[in-house]
Amino acid sequence: MKKTYKVEVDCASCANLMEETAKKINGIKEVTINFLTQKMEVDFDDNKDEKEQKKIIKEVLKACKKVEEDFEIYL
């Protein structure tokens, strides 16, 4: 189950780092953070419903903020 989110990410190398951090979060198969298009594509595990996905995204945001404080996900 893939979903795309608009994000704000300020530096290109942070985007790579954040991808790696986010991938480690439970319930996520794959994450790509695209610095150029300012978009994040998250591939959730198939059994996650809307509510769980929201929870996961919150975790992603928290983890990524550790890499770059200015990181933001627009829902």
Binding site: T4, D10, C11, A12, S13, N16, T32, N34, F35, L36, T37, Q38, K39, E41, K66, V67, E68, E69
Partner: protein, 641 residues
């Protein structure tokens, strides 16, 4: 420019002015001088310091901000150390380094924003609104709220927001944003139109057949935007390189502080100027950020994808650009790709029943098939027939159709199909596709139909040859005679005829394994298959690069292919290869340039020739030059026109 950038600009200007004036003033009081410099340092670098602390808290020792702060604070420290020895310390450098770093970041952000906008405008086909009629008034609404089957009105000059069918009005459309073709298309009632095209002259009413999100324009934008998510080998190389580059440089810096001074002290028994070696190590830290590479490589690919899409070529990932640039073989499907796929009736031979009667049976038998031959037969024989006469149709892939019509068993297809049913067909001497007909096991004759080569096909093959693609191959389910005729005409060296759909896939697989041609050069054989996207979907997904053409409005093709040509012009295959080659050339330039300059600076820094000023210029300057260089992809011009 957003708010963040404006504040940054103000900080840059203030720091530049005060830095210049401070160095002109002759201070009596050294403490006041130091305080003023530190104030300036905070103005220009407070966000870096904040981010570095954030990095320390989260255990990221190789954070670029942290390294920058270490380098500049180190330089200030050296200045203070000099003050203790009675000299006036140099604080200019630390602030200048910070200043240039910020200027670099500032320009980088501007440049990236600019390129994002440029590329977005190449793909600017997203319609913002739709007109609907309500209470005799035309109102503008958000197209994403419209249901399928809504009636929308498009005035001249407006974009069509949603795919649909014209129910009223005549006009012509500019579809160049979708297909790259600038010639307008004339449209009338009952024609299908696609979102993203621009209505040129008449007012038209459209009944929508898709939702906004499923419409052509939205699909294309989504596809192109996601394309840069698929990373190429060069990008993966760069992220790996970036990961080890920073730690290596930092450890080198550490080594530089420890090893040479110890060597001088213990082995050579000379006095060591420690501050000199610390300074050199700090210079290393300034060059330790691989930003130029991390930004410019994806940006080059992104520009390549944007540039291609403005020419009606959708490339679905950076990895495909890389593969296209190294392409060694192109396999074309014949029907509908190199030829128009529109067959004309050339002759009817050996018919035992009335000509019209015979055609009628063919038409009925082929009435349900989506094969190009069937479609053409339906097109040139435009009579409405009673389909209730058909009681059963069985399509035999790659051979033909067996149908029950008027309680008669009608077999329509190629030689093989006839032989499989123990019917001896009469062979034909004309060049063309032969469709044999048998009724109730008795041979009734055959019709000869023939396909026309597209005018652009000649140039398509010629251009590919000029681009050094050695193997150009044609596959077809058609008979040998027709295949040879087309291949000779187009100067294609290799062709395989009489292939069933599954044999086409097998052929592609064996061609992909065939490395003998390139063994001498030890290069990988990369094969592209070009087909129409509907009948050839399996072959398209099997090849290294699947190219679908004429795909406007067909979702299946958009899904299966790696590269989608929006119109059906085979020349675009060569254009896609050209753009990819240019893109990869720029990527290589950037990699060599960025790594090269950094290496030189590191060496010069280690032996004490390069100071921190040069280091920061190398760092920031290289990044900006690489970004500008990657824009050059957008200036692409084909060498063939």
């Amino acid at each position: 420019m957003n708010k963040k950038q404006k504040t940054m600009l103000i900080r840059i200007v203030i720091t530049s002015i005060f830095l210049a004036s401070l160095s002109l003033i002759n201070f009596e009081n050294n403490i006041l001088r130091f305080c003023l410099y530190m104030a300036l340092y905070l103005i220009i670098g407070y966000d870096i310091i904040k981010k570095s602390l954030h990095g320390i808290i989260n255990f990221r020792p190789f954070d670029e901000n942290l390294l920058m702060m270490t380098a500049t604070l180190g330089a200030i420290g050296l200045g203070l150390y000099n003050e203790t020895k009675g000299q006036q310390g140099d604080f200019n450098e630390a602030i200048a380094v910070m200043l240039f770093y910020q200027v670099g970041e500032f320009f980088q952000k501007l440049a990236i924003n600019k390129s994002r906008k440029n590329i977005a405008s190449l793909m600017d086909i997203r319609p913002d609104y739709a007109n609907i009629e309500k209470d005799n008034e035309i109102i503008k609404v958000d197209p994403s709220n419209l249901e399928i089957g809504s009636i929308i009105i498009v005035a001249p000059g407006e974009k069509i927001p949603i795919d649909g069918i014209i129910i009223e009005g005549n006009s012509s459309l500019n579809e160049s944003a979708l297909t790259g073709e600038s010639k307008p298309r004339t449209i009338k009632k009952d024609d299908e139109v696609y979102s993203g095209s621009i209505n040129l002259n008449g007012l038209i009413k459209i009944k929508t057949i898709k939702s906004f999100g499923e419409s052509t324009a939205s699909k294309i934008i989504e596809l192109v935007e996601n394309a840069s998510n698929k990373k190429s080998k060069s990008e993966n190389f760069i992220s790996k390189f970036a990961k080890i580059y920073t730690p290596i440089v930092v450890f080198c810096a550490l080594a530089l502080v420890i090893i040479p001074p110890l060597f001088i002290k213990i082995i050579l028994h000379n006095d060591v100027n420690f501050s000199q070696w610390i300074y050199r190590a700090l210079t290393f830290l300034v060059i330790s950020c691989p930003c130029a590479l991390i930004i410019s490589i994806p940006l080059s690919f992104f520009s390549g994808i944007g540039c291609a899409s403005s020419k009606g070529i959708l490339i679905k990932g950076s990895n495909y650009i890389e593969n296209l640039s190294k392409l060694t073989s192109v396999v074309f499907d014949k029907t509908g790709t190199l030829t128009k796929g529109v067959f004309e009736l050339v002759a009817i031979h050996h018919n035992k029943i009335d000509e019209n009667k015979l055609l009628e049976y063919v038409l009925l038998a082929e009435s349900a098939s989506s094969h190009p031959i069937a479609i053409s037969i339906r097109n040139f024989y435009k009579k409405e027939l009673n389909k209730l006469r058909i009681s059963n149709i069985e399509e035999i892939s790659g051979q033909g159709v067996i149908a029950k019509i008027d309680e008669l068993e009608v077999i329509v297809g190629n030689e093989q199909l006839m032989k499989n049913h123990n019917i001896e067909p009469i062979l034909c001497h004309s060049v063309g596709t032969i469709v044999h007909i048998a009724i109730n096991g008795e041979y009734m004759g055959h019709i000869v139909i023939s396909d026309v080569i597209k005018e652009q096909s000649y140039k398509a093959i010629e251009n590919l040859k000029k681009l050094n693609i050695k193997n150009i191959i044609m596959l077809t389910g058609d008979i040998e005679k027709v295949a040879k005729n087309v291949a000779d005409e187009l100067k294609i060296d290799k062709y395989y005829s009489n292939l069933l759909p599954n044999q086409k896939i097998e052929k592609i697989e064996s061609l992909m394994e065939d490395k003998t041609e390139n063994k001498t050069k030890n290069k990988k054989n990369i094969l592209a298959f070009v087909g129409d996207g509907i009948n050839d979907a399996p072959s398209i997904s099997r090849a290294d690069i699947g190219i679908a053409m004429g795909s406007i409005g067909t979702d299946a093709a958009l899904e299966a292919a790696d590269v989608v040509l929006m119109d059906d012009n085979p020349i675009k295959v060569a254009t896609a290869v050209e753009i990819s080659k240019k893109c990869l050339k720029i990527v290589k330039e950037n990699i060599i340039f960025a790594i090269g300059i950094k290496l030189i600076c590191l060496i010069l820094g280690a032996i004490g020739i390069a100071n921190m000023w040069l280091a920061i210029f190398a760092d920031v300057g290289v990044m900006i030059l690489c970004i500008i260089n990657s824009f050059r992809v957008l200036l692409f011009k084909s060498r063939f026109n």
